[in-house]
Amino acid sequence: MGKISSWDWEPGQKTVVKSLSPLEGHEWQEEPYVSPDGETIVAIVKVGDGEFSVRTNDSVWDATFEKIWYPKFSPDGRLAAICQQDMEWVLVADGETMGETTDYIWDTMFSEDGSSIATMYKSMERYGMSVNGEPWENLYENATMPAFTKDGAHTAAVVQAESMAAADLDGFKRGAYTVAVDGEAWKGRYVNIWNPVFNDAGDSLAATCRTTVYAHTIVVDDKPWDETYTQVWEPVFCPKDGGVVAPVRVAGKWGVAKDGKILWEPRYVQCFYLQYSPSGEDLWAVVATSYGQFTACVNNAAWNETWPTVSDLVVSPDGQRAAILASNCNEDFRIVVDGTPWSGTYDMAWPAVFSADSKNVAAKVEKNGRFRILVNGKSFERDFDAVWPPIFNEDGTKVLIRAIENNSYVRIVAEVCNF
């Protein structure tokens, strides 16, 4: 599929699949998925008794399986799915199996360019990860919360490295958990460890942990911070200096700590979803400035307006702008950009998308069972039966709309100036 610039950006509409009705002989067809470039729509189909395959536009994979789930498009356009054959599971990309079958795999993840695919992996009641079908050499009693480097070179997960008897309180308090990177467990043992995350270079890893039952902190490359807190949320690496920041709770209020030192004095009722600008100069978050009053925040300065529920903070590529989804407890969604909500409320909304130059913002919304694409708050000329999140072209002048209308799958390139 290649880079976005290589996609078809000719303005206009193309019908990719005229009829989405199940193909002849297919007993059923599940919900569709669409490739990022919009050229392919797929669905799991039942092709026979206990036989499943994948419909790709108007053709079907040659291979069939007993069960297929978790279809995901990789950034390079391949369709990866988790498939069962002879009661064992294997990763399948574009109909080709990757690696040997095993007892179970799940949680497919992709490298940034899509060339590597990782999954969680289980064999003989032992757990780990697998990359392109190759499992870790060392497996553990359990593995959860996978992480994958951008370049696909390294994987990590929280692993249970020590056995515990049933209801073993002492064993638990001694610490049974750690992080394994590429299958190699850290030496340290933790009461709990959560949310491991690699830095961009993939050579450092941070996670949230409990060093004792009551001491929550951040651990970086198996070295916990000296400072502990009553609660900590997931860490983020600073792209500027390699430091690590995380929301921390002190005396009932949330703030942000960097490398174990308070960066934002704890004053919020809540603080999470930290994100740095690419330069590392600006730190964004979602905060609750008061009970039930959530908003976005940059460099410890919250936006003026608050909402009962806020999610899906998206920071622009230049790091200077941000968008959130605000709602009244999952109803009356609004897209809020730079602190100002777009007009209109929606039954559901999807995370906003910025153009590469950070100037334009688009989003998918739902109202009364119909779906729309908005750009800079203005709707495309018509709504759809279904639509996927919009994608800008490289210079931000066009937006790709992938939609279903009248039982057809269509690919529309719309010019931003026409919204």
Binding site: Y104, D107, M120, T144, L169, F172, G292, S311, D312, C329
Partner: protein
């Protein structure tokens, strides 16, 4: 009047915790907790309580122990929190053992007593704060503590591994297809109307409930999904242990897994305490005034389906039934009328327990008491004789119980008092009666 010191039960968690305590540590933790985590509400309760004892008859332990004042809610508050406040935490480690046993195993946090208090003192809240202190002192019964450890490590209460959860759903989907050939349990279906969440005992040993839920969703044509990632378990023993940090972590995972799937609302299975966690305690600890994603209990959901004509039954359940009103969704949420609408739709004859609705007695399992495990089973049995009498007086054999903890507790009561009755979830009855395809 008996005294808690005379009925101490051996428990590994309580014993090891107390062995590591010093009076100095107790004082420090109590002072810090009272100053930092409680406020005017607790002080007002203590200062306005007239010790009138009207709360006593609200408590099934008191009623079941022949009006022994030791089990009266006001006495439990006096012997625990009020004493800690009066003495500013200067109590002995052994006293903490007694307080912990009282708070964790002799109060279900059912809040029935609050209805009987002339000034509305919520002893359930007071005892929750006692548990919080005990947790911070590391004095927690072994089995419920282990459940909380499971929550913290796996995000579910029964150490269910990530693959086991998915595998259980796929297994139930396969099983159900023998009966409903086109049935699906759609995993991670983004944009579905309904996210169905359960508690970990369902994939662990009550998989028929997942099967039945799928059958009902399928028959009713509901656009639904279940998540493949952690967050699927709505239950929360961290809340009952007093580990509020991990309560928050759990609720965050639950709500965020629904938000990521862009669902309109969460429907939870027939569980009581989980509802308390999602709509009262866990959500508020995270800073939400309400639920960030609406969660409706299965009773509410079945009520909707019935009223929309989406559940069709072939006939009504023939045997007379009685109804258990679970504390957290009746006193906590007010679903007593909808529960009766649903049961009367499904069943020919309903014989009410007395008292009932918001005045119904607790099952004695809730509030995490059943999760304190075998050492305290007898506490639950002798502590709820009044429930056995209430059940027996109905003269029926079937009890509709829309709550997991109530199920466990009432089945134990039925066995202990040889009542020859049997509990049923609502979904058991719907599944039994619903129109099914001829395969």
């Amino acid at each position: 009047m008996s005294h808690i010191a005379d009925r101490i039960i051996s428990d590994v968690g309580l014993e090891s915790g107390v062995a590591a305590l010093t009076t100095e540590k107790i004082e420090k933790v109590v002072t810090r907790m009272l100053k930092g985590e409680t406020g005017a509400k607790l002080r007002a309760y203590k200062e306005t309580c007239m010790r009138c004892g009207l709360c006593s008859q609200g408590c099934h332990y008191y009623m079941s122990h022949d009006a022994d004042p030791s089990y009266s809610p006001v006495n439990k508050a006096t012997e625990t929190m009020y004493e800690l406040m009066d003495k500013k935490g200067k109590v002995s480690p052994q006293r903490i053992y007694e307080m912990a046993q009282m708070a964790y195993t002799e109060c279900n946090l059912c809040k029935r007593c609050a209805h009987y208090c002339p000034i509305g003192i919520d002893t359930g809240y007071i005892m929750s704060q006692v548990r919080r202190i005990c947790y911070l002192l590391d004095v927690v019964p072994q089995y419920i503590r282990d459940t909380a450890h499971s929550h913290a490590s796996t995000m579910n209460q029964m150490w269910v591994k990530d693959d086991e959860w998915i595998d259980s759903l796929q297994w139930q989907e396969d099983e159900a297809r023998d009966e409903f050939p086109d049935l699906r349990i759609p995993l991670d279906k983004e944009g579905a109307d309904i996210y169905y969440s359960v508690i970990a005992p369902e994939p662990k040993f009550r998989t028929q409930l997942i099967y039945q839920a799928a059958a009902i969703m399928n028959a009713a044509g509901v656009d639904w999904t279940m998540p493949s990632h952690p967050g699927w378990d709505n239950s929360d023993m961290c809340m009952f242990v007093g580990d509020y940090e991990n309560m928050g972590r759990l609720k965050r995972a639950h709500y965020e897994s629904a938000q990521k799937l862009r669902v309109k609302r969460i429907v939870m299975g027939e569980c009581g305490h989980a509802f308390r966690s999602v709509y009262d305690m866990g959500n508020r600890w995270l800073g939400h005034k309400a639920m960030p994603v609406p969660v409706i209990h299965a009773i509410d959901f079945y009520w909707e389906l019935i009223n929309e004509g989406k559940i069709k039954i072939t006939h009504q359940y023939e045997n007379p039934v009685t109804i258990q009103d679970p504390c957290n969704i009746i006193r906590g949420r007010g679903l007593m009328d909808k529960l009766r609408d649903v049961v009367h739709f499904l069943c020919k004859e309903v014989v009410e327990m007395t008292p009932n609705r918001e005045h119904n007695y607790c099952c004695c399992a809730g509030g995490g008491v059943i999760n304190c495990g075998p050492p305290f089973k007898n506490t639950r049995m002798t502590g709820n004789r009044v429930k056995a009498e209430q059940l027996k007086a109905t003269g029926v054999h079937d009890v509709v119980i829309p709550c997991h903890n109530c199920h466990g507790g009432i089945e134990d009561i039925i066995g202990y008092y040889d009542l020859k009755m049997h509990g049923k979830f609502i979904s058991d009855i719907i599944y039994e009666l619903m129109e099914k395809p001829e395969v």
